[in-house]
């Protein structure tokens, strides 16, 4: 256990250093959510005027949606590092050392979680600058970030599970992209679900993206319903555990196939 924690730190440090050395990647990671916030924020500004929308300021409504959406988008890329490491022989090098097997995946998850936090804080700051006020305060922001991280853990593990199976960037990114946009729009990320058609409401109820968005939005509002939030965070946690288990299994399959 101590070894796994130690090694997770070593692996995380490796990925975070690599991240810092790719300014273009950091730039896109930061700029993209900002663009979403501006773009959707301006495009749908008057959507709050629809009767029954139930929110006064669209930016306040949108912020948890874009935080979760950005977490989804950036975590989907996680498997690329696995493919690069397999192709460069880095993965096999780790596997012939006493490196904790779990730490190889954990390092990637920590890197993604750090990206999630940075993205979320920037978006909250911009939303506030654009006039949004979050009644839920710091606690609300923390809950939103936790929801984004839990969803991100699931999705990066999904990407990490695909990578050793498919072994090509194109196929992993293809599948990940195929999932992200529909999953976002079949949730309450940018639109009040109660105003969406019935079939979308039904799908949204089982969509983890929606769980994360609703938990965050509830926590950012006034008088949050903590059992509503707790149930969704718990569901996200269970999903994250299931997905990380899946990625561990496909990683073992890769080790057997070497």
């Amino acid at each position: 256990m101590a070894t796994t924690l130690d090694h997770t730190w070593f692996m995380s440090r490796r990925h975070l250093r690599a991240l810092v050395r790719q300014p273009a990647y950091i730039g896109i990671t930061i700029v993209q959510p900002v663009v979403w916030l501006f773009l959707f924020g301006s495009l749908f500004k008057r959507i709050v005027e629809i009767p029954g929308f139930g929110a006064g300021n669209y930016i306040e409504f949108l912020t948890p949606g874009v935080i979760v959406m950005s977490a989804l988008f950036s975590n989907g890329w996680s498997g690329m590092t696995i493919i690069e490491d397999i192709d460069a022989g880095v993965m096999d090098r780790f596997l012939v050392t006493p490196a904790s097997r779990g730490s190889i995946m954990n390092g990637l998850l920590v890197q993604q979680a750090v990206i999630d936090v940075i993205q979320a804080l920037i978006m909250v700051g911009i939303a506030i600058a654009m006039g949004a006020r979050f009644a839920g305060g710091i606690v609300g922001v923390i809950v939103t970030i936790v929801a984004g991280i839990l969803l991100g853990l699931s999705f990066s593990s999904f990407s990490n599970a695909l990578a050793p199976l498919l072994r090509t960037r194109e196929s992993v990114i293809g599948i990940v992209q195929f999932v992200t946009l529909p999953a976002t729009f079949l949730s309450g990320a940018v639109m009040q679900p109660s105003l969406a058609p019935g079939w979308i409401q039904t799908i949204a109820r089982y969509n983890p993206v929606n769980w994360a968005v609703l938990a965050g939005r509830e926590a950012l509002g006034s008088n949050p319903d903590w059992s509503f939030i707790g149930i969704r965070l718990l569901a996200l946690l269970i999903l994250a555990v299931a997905c990380t288990t899946l990625s561990t299994l496909t990683f073992r399959a890769y080790q057997r196939a070497v």
Binding site: D6, R14, R21, D87, A88, G89, R93, T97, P98
Partner: protein
């Protein structure tokens, strides 16, 4: 374990490996390596060398057979094997986004080195492999030779007992290759390290290895010291260019008196023969020809090459086998 395995750094017995899809990479491969020696597995691409290394380094499991490395069973105690070995794969495994120092440090940390011990060890290795000046540069900027040196340094960071070098010089320039050979030889000599290297280069095996085994189609076809294997080809080849064509009978009569010469043939002014030891056969040969009135223009001695050995044991020419393997 048995007493024999303790005196063997590597002991592979009847290894077989069948990949999904029915490709038989290994077909009952066995060999043993004495501690502190360099052992080469020689063979063309696809012969089974890399599969053998993957099994011995715990990366891959054999379909059947057993192996011990540094006295530990690779199947039953992979963790103990991992602590005892260093491995430098064909794809170097260097993280190109990290610096040389970061690569070495992480590698040391994974083996449990920490703090001052780790810093000192990393600095020593950087220095020893001529990477101190480039230590804090991204490995992406390294030349092929530098990257290979870094990979070897990484394989040594925890002072392993057994080092695996899979094709250590493939793709390197000739002069860099010579430096690498010197470094590998020094490791075995000065550190008592056992080295298993795989190569498809006859020269490399001949230069470095105390013993070598020729691998073909997943099994070992012959094993011995380079000299033994070449010696079994019954001697050196001599080619003598005479100043002018000479009568066959007189030349044969003269040479029959020279001890140790065999398979003498004369073709115009070109005389060919074999000798167990050409160096000692040349002086009497020269004087015999001189006495027979057939002055010599030049003499060429060819030691039998491992190419000849491969041809003999694998039953086909090395280059032909290489193309076949690469086409698989």
């Amino acid at each position: 374990m048995t007493t024999t395995s303790a005196s063997r750094a590597i002991d592979a017995r009847d290894l077989t490996k069948t990949y999904k899809g029915g490709v038989h990479a290994l077909n009952g491969l066995s060999f043993a390596v004495a501690p502190g020696t360099i052992f080469a597995l020689l063979g063309p691409n696809g012969a089974g060398k890399s599969t053998t290394v993957k099994i011995l380094t715990t990366l891959s499991q054999p379909t059947s057979g057993t192996a011990t490395v540094a006295g530990h069973d690779v199947g039953k105690h992979p963790d103990q094997v991992r602590r005892a070995i260093g491995s430098v794969a064909q794809r170097s495994g260097v993280d190109r986004q990290a610096t040389g120092r970061e690569n070495l440090t992480l590698q040391g940390e994974l083996y449990g080195l920490r703090g001052r011990d780790l810093t000192v060890r990393v600095n020593d290795l950087l220095d020893r492999f001529g990477l101190t000046a480039a230590a804090d540069r991204s490995a992406r900027t390294y030349s092929g030779g530098m990257e290979r040196r870094l990979a070897i340094a990484m394989g040594l960071v925890h002072r392993p007992q057994v080092l695996f070098l899979d094709e250590p010089t493939s793709g390197l320039d000739p002069e860099i290759r010579a430096d690498m050979w010197a470094e590998i030889a020094r490791l075995a000599r000065e550190e008592g390290l056992t080295i298993l290297l795989t190569t498809h280069s006859m020269d490399e095996a001949d230069q470095l290895a105390q013993r070598l085994a020729i691998v073909d189609q997943g099994r070992i076809v012959v094993e011995g010291t380079p000299d033994q294997l070449k010696g079994e080809l019954r001697g050196d080849a001599l080619q003598i260019q005479l100043g002018a064509p000479a009568p066959n009978g007189e030349v044969h009569a003269a040479l029959d008196r020279v001890p140790g010469l065999r398979e003498i043939t004369l073709d115009g002014a070109t005389l060919r023969a074999r000798a167990d030891n050409a160096a000692t056969a040349v002086p009497p040969l020269l004087s015999a020809l001189d006495a027979a009135g057939a002055p010599v223009a030049s003499v060429t001695i060819a030691r039998p090459s491992l190419d000849d050995v491969y041809l003999r044991y694998a039953g086909r020419a090395y280059r032909a086998a290489g193309t076949e393997g690469a086409a698989q």
